[in-house]
């Protein structure tokens, strides 16, 4: 296809991506270099019959004028990145010199907002992915063996958790594990503790979120494994049966090696998707104990009258760096695939 034709075919799609994915990343970076303007204070002398007092108050007129002149705020360089809510260099330095033991230092470190969020995000990613792969594989193996007429409805049932949006999915589970809901009440009954609530401690909330993550992501792994199972060559399996291999041995030595590349694909996609975890935290009302990087950005942008563009931009940039780490293996894989194709 000549360059010219290619250009006109691709132009609309490319323009949309450039304007609404490429530019926002740059805009986000630009925002992160700025900080909200300070409020201009003025001293006012207030006199009443008992004497005069000077008060400082916000000069609204001057502040709004400044805001009009510099809507993005003043230039702050990389300052936002180092502040307490992000990489917190000063706090870390201070903690390093003041804390007596490693445990104390880690404790301080993990109470800083950014590191706390990073810890949750990574824990979530790495706790959810392995069970998802294993369960997805087992479900795919099981469903592959059932009668053909039952397959359709069964698959439909199994993929439901993946279809609903995470917010709705987490709400549906949240209502059940509520202390007054069916699961919550059953758990209280089982442990014989009327005050037990999954919302009460941070560990339990984390575990609940991780269980939700497994519930939501397993169908994806299942679907991909299930499709891959259809491509497993039948000849080696038949040969193995003739040689007297049990089903376990067949799965272990023929099916699993065939599925390795698919498994890596699932792991990478799963890690990348869970790195942006946001909706479950909102659905489970877990903001108090579990914050993710995405949630930090959401929180900065949520309040309508005072959006912290600088802070959100900085967190976005740091998140993108995190995504880049997870993305590298995917890119290498795609690159290799292309090379072998040509």
């Amino acid at each position: 296809m000549p360059h010219r034709t290619f250009f006109w075919f691709f132009f609309p799609s490319g323009l949309a991506m450039l304007l609404f994915i490429g530019l926002p990343i740059i805009s986000s970076f630009f925002q992160s270099l700025h900080i909200e303007p300070e409020q201009i204070l003025m001293e006012v002398e207030k006199c009443d019959p008992f004497g005069c007092k000077t008060e400082t108050k916000v000069d609204i007129e001057a502040t709004s004028k400044l805001q009009e002149e510099q809507p993005l705020g003043r230039f702050n360089g990389l300052g936002t990145y180092g502040d307490r809510n992000h990489l917190a260099f000063d706090e870390i330095k201070e903690a390093w010199s003041n804390s007596s033991s490693m445990a104390e230092f880690t404790d301080i470190l993990l109470n800083l907002p950014f590191y706390k969020a990073l810890l949750f995000t990574l824990t979530f990613c790495f706790a959810v992915t392995p069970p998802v792969v294993v369960l997805g594989f087992i479900v795919a193996l099981s469903i592959n063996t059932i009668t053909k007429s039952l397959k359709g409805p069964t698959i439909f049932g199994v993929i439901l958790p993946m279809i609903v949006t995470p917010l709705i999915g987490s709400l549906v589970l949240f209502w059940m594990i509520d202390a007054k809901g069916i699961l919550g009440a059953t758990i209280q009954y089982l442990f014989d503790d009327p005050n037990l609530s999954l919302k009460s401690s941070s560990q339990l909330t984390w575990i609940t979120l991780i269980i939700y993550g497994i519930w939501h992501n397993t169908p994806f792994a299942f679907v991909v494994f299930y499709a891959a199972l259809q491509t497993v060559p039948q000849d080696p399996i038949e040969a193995a049966i003739i040689d007297g291999a049990t089903r376990y041995e067949r799965v272990r030595h023929i099916v699993i090696p065939h599925l390795y590349p698919v498994a890596t694909f699932i792991i990478l996609i799963c890690l990348m998707d869970n790195f942006r975890v946001l909706e479950p935290i909102i659905g489970f009302a877990a903001e108090g104990v579990a914050q993710s990087l995405s949630w930090m950005i959401y929180n900065d942008l949520r309040s309508e009258n005072k959006m912290l563009f600088g802070s959100a931009g900085a967190t976005s940039m740091l998140t993108i760096i995190g995504v880049a780490f997870l993305l590298t293996p995917v890119l290498i894989r795609t690159w290799r695939e292309f090379r072998t194709e040509r």
Partner: protein, 293 residues
């Protein structure tokens, strides 16, 4: 295959069936429970005394005179203005699907037929774009959108969702067009068609299976989106998902927790119906990128 199934041992079949049944219950039961509970009052759905109340509807009987009630549905759709959210969702979903497919088919067709090296880099760039968390993009939109005064309205959100959706649509349709034989449109070119004519009269009639799959994914993205719609739309223009979140958050609705429950059912039911019809396309789309690896 059938003959081989018979060779599985009896224990295996029993274990297998049990496992599938348990897994099906885990996957489906929460939705059935919510559906059932949405016809009860709050005191039943969250009953401290006995969770069986949610099944039998004791308090619902006391409060409304019947064991199930559609009060929450009626109220949320009328008083809670859920009809407006549903309308917005329909407008956004239909527009996003239509525009995404229009841009996506053209772009992906070009990518699949060009032999130059830059197509590879474009696809890699699309892959990088696809990995960007949506919230980081939203943080980049808000400030310029406020300055341009386009924040809060539906068209902005539609364009944004189309753009966010492009990388995935491009990849999906690209791998689909690769399976359409090149000879088909090449022969049309030899017969004197322009590229656009070849696309219009030769490719378009055969591309529908791929387009249905891509459309399904665009639909799910637009329908399910929370991040973009909740931050880029103003309250009046909310779609269903942010609307449900708003029911939970604001104090004025705290008494109407059941609004959220019934709205969840209202929002989920149409989606499940569509997926029931297009399950095959959904699965083929999910596996398009994976299996050949």
């Amino acid at each position: 295959m059938e003959s081989k199934i018979n060779r599985y041992s009896k224990q295996l079949i029993i274990f297998n069936s049990l496992f599938i049944i348990v897994w099906l219950v885990i996957s489906v039961f929460p939705f059935i429970w919510t559906f059932w509970g949405s016809f009860k009052v709050k005191a039943d759905f969250f009953s401290r005394a006995d969770w069986m109340f949610a099944v039998t509807g004791v308090n619902t009987l006391i409060e409304t005179g019947d064991t199930s009630t559609v009060k929450a549905y009626v109220e949320s759709w009328t008083e809670g203005e859920f009809w407006k959210a549903a309308m917005n969702t329909i407008i956004i979903t239909v527009s996003v699907v239509a525009i995404s497919l229009f841009l996506g088919t053209l772009g992906a067709y070009a990518l699949s037929r060009s032999t130059y090296k830059y197509t590879f880099w474009i696809l890699i760039a699309a892959l990088i774009f696809r990995a960007m968390p949506h919230i980081t993009l939203v943080s980049g939109y808000l400030f310029p959108f406020f300055q341009l005064n386009v924040w809060g309205i539906l068209p902005t959100t539609i364009i944004v969702l189309v753009a966010i959706n492009q990388p995935f649509t491009l990849w999906l349709l690209y791998s689909f067009f690769k399976t359409v034989p090149k000879e088909l449109d090449e022969s049309a070119l030899i017969d004197g068609c322009s590229y656009f004519q070849a696309f219009r009269y030769v490719i378009m009639p055969v591309m529908w299976p791929g387009v249905v799959t891509a459309g399904l994914f665009s639909m799910m993205l637009a329908y399910n989106d929370f991040t973009v719609t909740s931050l880029l739309l103003n309250q009046q223009n909310y779609t269903m998902v942010p609307k449900i979140n708003a029911y939970l958050g604001t104090i004025e609705h705290s008494g109407n927790y059941m609004w959220a429950v019934s709205s969840v059912v209202s929002a989920t039911a149409p989606l499940f119906m569509i997926i029931m019809f297009f399950q095959r396309q959904l699965i083929s789309g999910l596996t398009a990128g994976a299996v050949k690896g």
